[in-house]
């Protein structure tokens, strides 16, 4: 592999990796607030992309379609929490997993009934003239993906560290009673976490659609890889989630590039799961340690 090829793989890996990072971040927000692993997380990504496609087709400019899709999916996240997660507050892990799995199936099939089985495109945010870097090329959309991911991550950090609500959300991940001490109800923190989590994942979905299209069934795979990324970086650790996502994206493309055999791309998806299984077996607390480890 030449350096330029390597660079090309990294560019492509970073693009998908950003989406994994945002999905992993979505997992993390919900997990930290409620200890629930949301198996429907990937569906938020898919819904974001497809909703933006519809809004754009209906005549909304891209920017408006982006914001609209994120807002709509955030609402879906909040409604999902109210209708399905809240009643099971004390029902145990098994019930919570089953409900999010059910939601994932329902959202996915619902999306198929609305948008059909075809993968739908969205135009790139600004042009599709590739930019040359050394001998490798980079699409403007890739820059958008990276830039917006950075903006989201930084905004989230500022929210957590600078605002009272953000501090309450962080306090909740350590101790549910702590939020009450700060004058903010725990149930509001949970609603907010679901809304933000859905919004962030949806934003990822809108950004990636111009690169790789979106279809009703995309969510399952993205969700799984987002989870693999979250585990990789340490479940419950937001910085770890972002790093895990980017690392997973790059590893995935590099592994395929490095494998000598033809048809290796068929194994592309297996790479993420292999990493997931290896991390679970060897170091379940992830590279940077998860929340439960910090607590113990």
């Amino acid at each position: 592999m030449t350096f330029d090829q390597f660079l090309q793989y990294v560019f492509s890996g970073v693009t998908t990796g950003s989406i994994y990072a945002l999905t992993a971040l979505g997992f993390t927000l919900i997990y930290n607030a409620t200890n629930v692993i949301n198996f429907a997380q990937g569906e938020f990504v898919m819904l974001g992309g497809l909703t933006a496609v519809s809004l754009h087709e209906a005549g909304a400019p891209l920017a408006l379609a982006f914001v609209g899709a994120v807002a709509i999916v955030a609402t879906v996240g909040v409604v999902f929490q109210l209708l399905a997660i809240r009643p099971l507050h004390s029902a145990g892990i098994l019930a919570q997993i089953i409900v999010t799995v059910g939601a994932s199936l329902a959202l996915r099939t619902g999306a198929m009934l609305i948008w059909g089985r075809e993968a739908l495109p969205l135009p790139p945010f600004t042009g599709d003239e590739p930019i040359k870097v050394s001998e490798a090329t980079i699409l403007p959309q890739t820059l958008w993906v990276l830039g917006l991911t950075l903006v989201i991550v930084v905004t989230l950090q500022l929210f957590y560290r600078r605002t009272l609500t953000g501090k309450a959300v962080r306090a909740c991940s350590v101790n549910q009673g702590a939020a009450r001490l700060m004058g903010i109800s725990y149930s509001k923190v949970v609603l907010l976490s679901f809304g933000m989590s859905a919004a962030i994942s949806a934003a990822g979905g809108v950004m990636i659609t111009p690169v790789s299209f979106m279809v009703y069934s995309s969510g399952a795979l993205i969700g799984l890889k987002g989870f693999a990324a979250a585990i990789f970086g340490g479940l419950g650790n937001p910085a770890g989630a972002v790093f895990g996502g980017l690392a997973l994206g790059i590893l995935e493309t590099l592994a395929i590039g490095a494998l000598p055999m033809s048809g290796a791309s068929g194994y592309k998806d297996a790479v993420a799961f292999l990493i997931l299984l290896i991390v679970l077996f060897v170091k379940p607390q992830g590279l940077f340690g998860g929340r439960s480890v910090e607590k113990a």
Binding site: A84, L94, I97, I98, G102, L224, A270, L277, P284
Partner: protein, 335 residues
Amino acid sequence: MAALVFLRRHLAFLAFSVVILSAPLFTGNIYYLSILAFMATRLMIALGLNLLMGQAGQISLGHAAFVGIGAYGSAIMTTRWNMDPWLAMLFSAVFAAAVAGLIGVPTLKLKGHYLAMATLGFGEIVHILLVQFKWLTNGTDGIGGIPSLAIGGIDFGDPQMFHWLVWGVVLLMLRISLNLVDSRVGRSLRALHRAEVAAMSLGVNTSFRKVQVLMVSAVFASIAGSFFVHYVQYVSPVSFTLTFSVILVTTVVIGGLGNVWGAVWGSVLMVLLPEYLKRYNQDYTLLVFGVMLIVIMIFLPGGLVSFKTLVAKTRERLGGARTASAAGPGPARGS
């Protein structure tokens, strides 16, 4: 007297056995028998998954892969290596158990969602391998020409004979599942589900029991896969996806966790319902399943088998305390 006690204790099981085994006497219709055969293999999987989820409180989102191991194990060993089908079934089941153990040992020490994720990832890997390992699995084309089962001179390629064979095995699995629930091991599983630390403090080796029940459920699933391919004599990777794993979970949840009979009613419903929905629009089936998972967990966490208890409780509440029986509804149990 002893006979009467025996009859009362096993009434449900005996009645179910009589009904299901006599079915071919009333219909020779191939379509009906094929639905029943399909239901039988579904029930085998559901019984194992019911033990894992309902008793031990653990969840596998990759059970389709264990079915796939049985299906492809039997298909490959009988068509390519000319192995005896029963031996192939046995080897496949042992392999499925070993894989389950491999996944279970590291993950079952951790919280519940780690097993869910590990099995999910494992299921996806198996699906990818089934498609990609063309030299072994024929890829998406699948493997045909799988022989039907036979013992001595009896050919189980005949739908009626197959019905008795497969339901005989199902009844055996149902019986041993009922036995397990009502034993030291069954109680320890329910205990670790409810309060793992308390179970440990009473001497239950919880990690061992969890891994063991995962292995048992993998064996049930693998055997189901083997019977399935010997019946349809063809196998392809499309049957072994995440969606199928979720459908399996739905089967168990709808019937009722925590009660072995839940697996029976869940399988009946989940095999008949799609057949019925198919007449209108097949696309809605999965939507219905997804919504049912949510609705059941929230409103009827005990599944269909607990419906009677729910009705009784509601009536009790409406009718006031006067008519309430002193003993109240007993705890959910298998036998």
